[in-house]
C-alpha cells in the first residue's frame, strides 16, 4: 500500500516507566532456571496506558514542532486500555490541548494495534482529510503470575505525528503492507484479567509466518531487497524471535540491534515495534532506510519502509532519546511489582 501523496513522520516520542523488575527476580519467586530477558519495565502505581500515551505524545509534539490544535486525528492502539468502554484517545487529546475538532478512536489487534494507528494516520494525511494525525501504541501488558508471559509482559508507549512530507519530515513512508489471518495463538476473553496463549504455536505458524510474509510482501510491492535496508525493527515478544526473523530474511543482526529493546525493557506489546523504531531513529542518519514489521496475535503483521530525512539531525535532541529513558530506572522486587500491577487485591 503506497499513499498517493507523500507522508512522513514529523515527530516521535517514546516513554518507558522508571521501574524495572529483573526476570531473575520473577524466576526466584516462581522457579525458573533460564529466563528470556534481563529485565522489564513496570508501570508505577499511578500509571496506565493513557498516562504513558500522554508522556510519549508530549515528546512527539516537542519533536514535531506542530501546534497541537492542528492535530486532526488521534488513534491509540492498546490491549490494556484502562477503560473497557471509554476512549483513550480523548484523554490524551485533552491532556495535550488538541482541539475538539478531532477524529479519535482506540485500536485493538494484540501487539500490532500501534502500527495500525500508523496506517490510519498515513491514509488520513495522504488523502488530505487531516493535516496532522497522531498514532500511539501504549500498553501495560498483563502476564498471569508464573506464566512464561510474566517474564516479558512490560509497560511502555510510543507516539508518532504524521504529516505531508516536507523539510520538517524526520522520515517519510515509502509504503506499508499488511498480512492478516485467523490464527488463534494468543487471546484474552472479555472480563479475563490475563491472556492465554498456545506455547510453541505462537512461533512458526504465528509470529514467523506473519512477520516474514509482511516483510516479503512489502519488499515485493516496493521492489526492494533486504540489502536496501540499513535498519530493521521487528515486534519483540522475546529476545530470540526478532533475531531469528532477521536471520530467516537474511538481515544482518547489527541492523536489528539498535532497535532491539526487549532484553532491557521487556515486551511492551503495542509499543514494542514503535519504541524499537524510535530507538533506531535516535541513531539513524539521513538517507537511511528502516524496515519496521509489527506483529499482533490473532494474527497479523504490518510492515513499513521509512526513509530518514535531514530533519532528524536537529529534531532528535528536542526530546529524550529512548536510551536515556531506559537508563533512568529503579529496580523493584516482586512484592512491589505485584502491588504496582494490581496483582494483589486488597
Amino acid at each position: 500500500m503506497k499513499p498517493l501523496n507523500s507522508v512522513g513522520i514529523l515527530g516521535y516520542g517514546g516513554y518507558v516507566p522508571i521501574y524495572r523488575i529483573q526476570a531473575s527476580e520473577i524466576g526466584r519467586v516462581w522457579g525458573a532456571g533460564c529466563v528470556p530477558i534481563i529485565e522489564k519495565a513496570v508501570a508505577g502505581i499511578d500509571e496506565d496506558a493513557t498516562t504513558m500515551a500522554v508522556e510519549a505524545a508530549r515528546y512527539a509534539v516537542a519533536r514535531a514542532q506542530v501546534d497541537p490544535e492542528e492535530i486532526g486525528a488521534i488513534y491509540v492502539g492498546s490491549e490494556s486500555k484502562p477503560y473497557a468502554v471509554k476512549p483513550s484517545g480523548t484523554i490524551v487529546a485533552e491532556a495535550l490541548g488538541i482541539s475538539s475538532s478531532l477524529l479519535a478512536a482506540d485500536y485493538e489487534f494484540a501487539c500490532k494495534a500501534g502500527t495500525e494507528a500508523f496506517q490510519t494516520c498515513i491514509a488520513l494525511v495522504a488523502s488530505g482529510m487531516v493535516k496532522y494525525g497522531m498514532a500511539i501504541g501504549a500498553d501495560t501488558a498483563q502476564g498471569r503470575p508464573s506464566d512464561e508471559l510474566e517474564f516479558t509482559a512490560a509497560s511502555g508507549a510510543a507516539a508518532y505525528i504524521f504529516g505531508r512530507k516536507s523539510e520538517e519530515t524526520v522520515a517519510y513512508v515509502e509504503g506499508t503492507y499488511s498480512y492478516s489471518t485467523d490464527t488463534p495463538d494468543f487471546w484474552r476473553r472479555q472480563g479475563e484479567p490475563y491472556p492465554s496463549h498456545y506455547g510453541r504455536f505462537t512461533g512458526r505458524p504465528a509470529y514467523f509466518r506473519h512477520v516474514l510474509s509482511a516483510a516479503k510482501g512489502l519488499m515485493n510491492e516496493l521492489n526492494l531487497t533486504v540489502d536496501d535496508f540499513d535498519y530493521a525493527v521487528f515486534h519483540q515478544p522475546n529476545a530470540k524471535f526478532p533475531l531469528a526473523a532477521a536471520k530467516m530474511l537474511g538481515i544482518d543482526e547489527e541492523k536489528v540491534k539498535p532497535g532491539l529493546l526487549v532484553p532491557v525493557i521487556g515486551n511492551t506489546y503495542s509499543a514494542s515495534s514503535p519504541l524499537g523504531l524510535a530507538a533506531t531513529l535516535d541513531e539513524a542518519k539521513p538517507g537511511d532506510r528502516i524496515l519496521v514489521v509489527s506483529y499482533g496475535s490473532g494474527a497479523g503483521s504490518d510492515a513499513f519502509s521509512f526513509v530518514v530525512q535531514d530533519a532528524i539531525e536537529w529534531k532528535r535532541d528536542l526530546a529524550p532519546p529512548i536510551k536515556a529513558l531506559i537508563e533512568r530506572k529503579k529496580l523493584v522486587d516482586y512484592a512491589c511489582y505485584t502491588r504496582f500491577r494490581g496483582k494483589l487485591l486488597k
Binding site: 532456571g33 533460564c34 498456545y198 506455547g199 510453541r200 504455536f201 512458526r204 505458524p205
Partner: protein, 385 residues
C-alpha cells in the same frame, strides 16, 4: 491360526503439524500404507492412540478413522494401552487376521500432541500411571525414569555420560530418516549441557512433543503374493503386563512385562536373541533403552550401558538399534510410536532402509512399552525368502 504378513507401510514425518487434524494425520499415514500395499479396501481398522480424549476432545477413533480413509462400513476400533497403544493395535490386527475373522486389516497409530498446552500434554501421559499412588504426587514420566536412572547408575556403576550414548546413537540414525522429528546429530557434551529435566536426565535425553501417525497393512501370508513380492512375516506378536504402580514391582531395573512378552515372542517366532539382526526399543530416555536391551536378552542385566558405550548398538555394531532414530530422535507421538517401530523394521527387512540399511537383516524385533512398563508389546518380524 494363520500366518500373517505385512504388505504395506506408511507414516508421516513426526513434528508440529499445526495445519493437520488428528483425522488427517491418521488418514495420510493409512492411505500411504494402502497405496504401498496396492489395496483400496480392508476388512478392519485398528487405531492406536493414547490421548485423543484429553488433547483433542475426540473419541470414537475407530469409526472416525475408517470414515477418514473413505471406508465407512468396515469394522474399526480404537486400541489404548498408554504409549504401547500403537504396538498393541498391530497386535490386535495380527490376531484378527491370524484367526481368520478378517483378511485384510490396517493397524495404525496416531497422536496429535500439539493441539494442547504442554502441562496438559504432561497430564495426559501421566494418566498411564496409577492415579492414587503415582500421578497425584506430581511426578512426571521423566521423573520416574530419572529415579530408575539414579538406581541403575548406583547399582551398576554406570555413568550418565555412558547412558546418553543411547540418545546420541538415536540422533545419528535419525539424520537419514526423512520422517524423523530431530534429524540432526548431537554429542554427549551437548546432552550434558542441555537443561536438567529430572536429575540426572537432561532435555536432550528425553523425547520431544510431536504429532505423528504410522500404519501397516496386514493380510494372511497365503494371500501376500497377490499384493507384493516382499511380504514381511509377523513371526511373533505378544503383549504382557506388569503391576502398574512401579513402586510395587519387585525390581525397578527390570521390565518384567518386557521379559514375559519377549520370552513368548522368541518361542512363537522360533528364534533366540542371537538371531535378531535389528531392534527397535522404547527408549523413553536413554536408561529405558539400556534396560530394554537387557530385558530382551541381548546383554546381561547391568551390562547394557557397557554394550552401548562399546558402540554395539550402532549400525555396523553387533545389534543395530533404533536405526531410524528411536523415541528420542524419530520422535515419540505416543499412540503411533509402536507402529513407527514396525514400519521401520519392515523397511530394514525389505532392504529399503537406504543409508541406514543393516546388511543382511532377516530378523527384526520391536519393543513398545506403555507407561513405565506396565504394558510391553513385542513384535518379531522376518524376511520371507
Amino acid at each position: 491360526m494363520r500366518e500373517v504378513a505385512i504388505i504395506g507401510v506408511g507414516c508421516i514425518k513426526v513434528g508440529e503439524h499445526w495445519d493437520k487434524s488428528l483425522r488427517q494425520l491418521f488418514a495420510e499415514a493409512a492411505l500411504t500404507a494402502l497405496e504401498d500395499a496396492g489395496v483400496d479396501r480392508v476388512d478392519g481398522v485398528y487405531v492406536g492412540n493414547l490421548a485423543s480424549a484429553t488433547l483433542n476432545s475426540q473419541q470414537h477413533l475407530g469409526a472416525l478413522m475408517a470414515d477418514a480413509m473413505g471406508m465407512p462400513g468396515v469394522e474399526a476400533v480404537r486400541v489404548e494401552a498408554a504409549d504401547a497403544s500403537g504396538g498393541v493395535a498391530v497386535h490386535e490386527a495380527v490376531r484378527a487376521v491370524a484367526s481368520g475373522m478378517l483378511d485384510l486389516a490396517v493397524a495404525g497409530g496416531v497422536e496429535k500432541m500439539t493441539d494442547a498446552k504442554l502441562p496438559d500434554v504432561e497430564y495426559a501421559i501421566m494418566m498411564s500411571e496409577r492415579r492414587e499412588y503415582v500421578t497425584h504426587t506430581g511426578v512426571t514420566i521423566t521423573g520416574l525414569n530419572a529415579i530408575t536412572a539414579q538406581l541403575y547408575m548406583s547399582r551398576f556403576g554406570a555413568k550418565y555420560e555412558d547412558l546418553v550414548l543411547f540418545s546420541v546413537n538415536d540422533h545419528k540414525n535419525a539424520v537419514n530418516n526423512p520422517y524423523a522429528q530431530y534429524p540432526f546429530p548431537i554429542t554427549v557434551e551437548r546432552v550434558l549441557e542441555s537443561p536438567m529435566v529430572a536429575d540426572p536426565i537432561r532435555l536432550l535425553d528425553t523425547p520431544g512433543v510431536g504429532d505423528g501417525a504410522a500404519a501397516v497393512v496386514l493380510c494372511p501370508m497365503e494371500r501376500a503374493g497377490e499384493f507384493t513380492d516382499t511380504p514381511i512375516r509377523v513371526g511373533a506378536s505378544t503383549v504382557a503386563t506388569d503391576v502398574v504402580n512401579p513402586y510395587e514391582r519387585e525390581e525397578l531395573l527390570t521390565l518384567s512385562s518386557t521379559r514375559t512378552a519377549a520370552e513368548r515372542a522368541y518361542e512363537m517366532a522360533g528364534v533366540t536373541p542371537g538371531d535378531v539382526d535389528v531392534v527397535e526399543v522404547h527408549d523413553n530416555s536413554s536408561v529405558m533403552g539400556v534396560i530394554a536391551l537387557e530385558d530382551l536378552g541381548f546383554v546381561e542385566k547391568g551390562c547394557g550401558h557397557k554394550f552401548v558405550a562399546e558402540g554395539e548398538i550402532e549400525i555396523g555394531g553387533k545389534l543395530p538399534t533404533n536405526t531410524f532414530g528411536g523415541l528420542k530422535a524419530r520422535g515419540h507421538p505416543w499412540g503411533a510410536t509402536g507402529v513407527y517401530q514396525v514400519v521401520e523394521l519392515v523397511w530394514q527387512l525389505r532392504g529399503e532402509a537406504g543409508k541406514n540399511q543393516v546388511d543382511g537383516a532377516e530378523v527384526g524385533l520391536a519393543q513398545n512399552v506403555g507407561g513405565t512398563g506396565a504394558t510391553s508389546c513385542i513384535h518379531i518380524l522376518r524376511r520371507v525368502d
